[in-house]
Amino acid sequence: MSKSALPTELKRTPRENWRFFRTFVRKEFYHIFRDRMTMLILLAMPILMLVLFGYALNTEVKNSKIAVYDPSRDDVTRAMVEKLQINHYFILSRMLNSPDEMDKVFKSGEVSMVVVFSENFYENLLHGGHAQIQLIADGSDPNTASTITTYASNILAGYQIELLEMNKIPYQITPEIKLLYNPSMVAAYNFVPGVMGMIILLICAMMTSISIAREKENGTMEILLVSPMKPLYVILSKAVPYFFLSIVNLCTILVVSVFVMGVPIAGSFFWLIAISLLYIFVSLALGLLISSVVNTQMAAMLISAMGLMMPVMLLSGMLFPSENMPLFLQLIGDVIPAKWYIEAVKKIMIKGLGVGAILNELAVLSGMAVALISISLRNFKIRLE
């Protein structure tokens, strides 16, 4: 005891500080690993969200059931039905025997489109060039109806060109619509960056702030503030496990999107990770900032959910393109870190652009990181008042 009375002995060496830090980080990992339910949710969430956005909230139309009324039953009509079935957009549900059955299959909801060929289809096509196909869709869902009729007419037009070429009919110009960067209009290309932006924010900001608020609620924060441990180390060690957790989730999202959803990483992997790390720092700083203003876990959760998640989903361009928003909403969107991150990920991952294209995003996120970290560190109260 007499030793510690010497003031020089009271100074902490860097090695001692490092030991504090290690001890504390280990404790944080215990907290996470022992709360099995939360950990499971955190680890499964990216997969869940990818599945949700990828399959459930999908605007693509796949596996639509169709019926065909084909009175001619010749080679060409059979080949055309074959063409429709061959891709994953349509499944042939049944062949109709008379046009009267059409009403029944629509009303029962069995099919969403009926393809009707005219009589003597092939002959009419060869001789008069007047063969007709009717595409009749269930208009009660106009979006789906227009999507599937467009698909079907494209497929049939494609077959028509094949036919014309076989018959050596002179050169024709057909318009071709091509979607850049996302040639097959895969929705995953759009939402994978969004899910990355959201998951990282959720884990870093929400979980960090909740975990600090929990210490305040349980009264352990008081003990820590009385202890010689520097408050800076307390909050830094809080951030470490969530940093690792978000890296794990980042990997999960990338693996699932590349190997399961078929979204390629077109650009530099290095810069994709670099911008993600930067974004993780920004999110952690946001979490620390939230925790410096709230005292309960409930408040931390509400602020993170309402103040962070909602704007990210609605304003960052994740679900709705920000170009279509009124100017003031766009301006609000500009202060959301997720917007810049999602934009950067789209550029690198989907468009395959180089680092030159994301300099703007890098600069904005770096600025946000510096600003948020300095504000939250200054706000963190050393004393309870």
Binding site: M1, L10, R19, L225, R383
Partner: protein
């Protein structure tokens, strides 16, 4: 007057006109007292009398509005970092980590207070043996009964052999029998030379202290040994002493 030379020998805590205001409200009103080394010093008062605020100032959790105080020879205003190394603290909220094992809690706090790593394990075993807790070494704290948790929290607070331990209503919510067991631990600590500074509103606990102060409306209205106080106020027990003093209180319980 304000310099360190005014700290008398053998005094672990010295407070001089210590005051804390929250806006226009004076929570602690010019209190002065001294605590001797190895003493069990009781801080009594109704809820809202200012005892927790006073203790928080001494621990460095709260900054005084005016006045001076020294803990373990260090000025609370300018040397709070040095004070933190020499004190232990146990708050009224039971504050061990529920999802950590008994042993992990001890290791954590020992680490935070800079107990050398190789001393932690043998000291932990010795402590658990003394408490009769050996079988609970790897038990999660949340599954322990409240009385055990409090004993453990106290043992953790003095694990690093502080000069003084501050206990803020440590026995809230437990039955008198468990309270008595808890006080045995406090006596053991005092025997080892650790000064104990304890706030309470249980008057039976006041009897166990070497000296008590009674706070009313932020002021210290009495400071002496329980025996002398009872004589002075012609009271059978501390409860009567307290009620005679608290009768004049203007603040109501919050």
């Amino acid at each position: 007057m304000n310099t360190k030379e005014t700290v008398p020998e053998g005094k672990v805590v010295v407070a001089r006109n210590l005051t804390k205001m929250f806006g226009g409200f004076t929570a602690v009103d010019h209190i002065s007292f001294e605590v001797d080394k190895g003493e069990i010093f009781g801080f009594l008062g109704a809820n809202g009398a200012g005892k927790t605020t006073a203790m928080r100032m001494l621990c460095g959790l709260s900054k005084q509005t005016s006045g001076h105080a020294w803990v373990a020879g260090f000025d609370i205003a300018s040397e709070s970092e040095s004070i933190k190394k020499c004190i232990g603290y146990m708050s009224q909220k039971f504050a061990l980590y529920e999802d950590l094992e008994v042993w992990e809690n001890i290791r954590l706090y020992a680490g935070i207070y800079g107990v050398p790593e190789k001393e932690i394990a043998p000291k932990t075993d010795e402590l658990l043996q003394r408490l009769g807790f050996e079988s609970e070494k790897h038990t999660l704290v949340k599954s322990l009964p409240l009385g055990w948790k409090q004993k453990l929290a106290f043992s953790v607070a003095i694990f690093h052999e502080p000069k003084i331990v501050f206990l803020d209503e440590p026995t809230g919510g437990v039955d008198p029998a468990t309270r008595r067991q808890f006080w045995e631990l406090i006596y053991q600590a005092a025997d080892r030379g650790i000064t104990v500074f304890v706030t309470t509103h249980y008057m039976d606990e006041a009897e166990y202290c070497n000296r008590v102060t009674i706070m009313v409306d932020g002021r210290i209205d009495a400071l002496d040994s329980p025996k002398n106080l009872k004589q002075q106020y012609h009271a059978k027990n501390m409860n009567e002493v307290f009620h005679q003093l608290a009768r004049n209180a203007k603040r109501t319980e919050k």
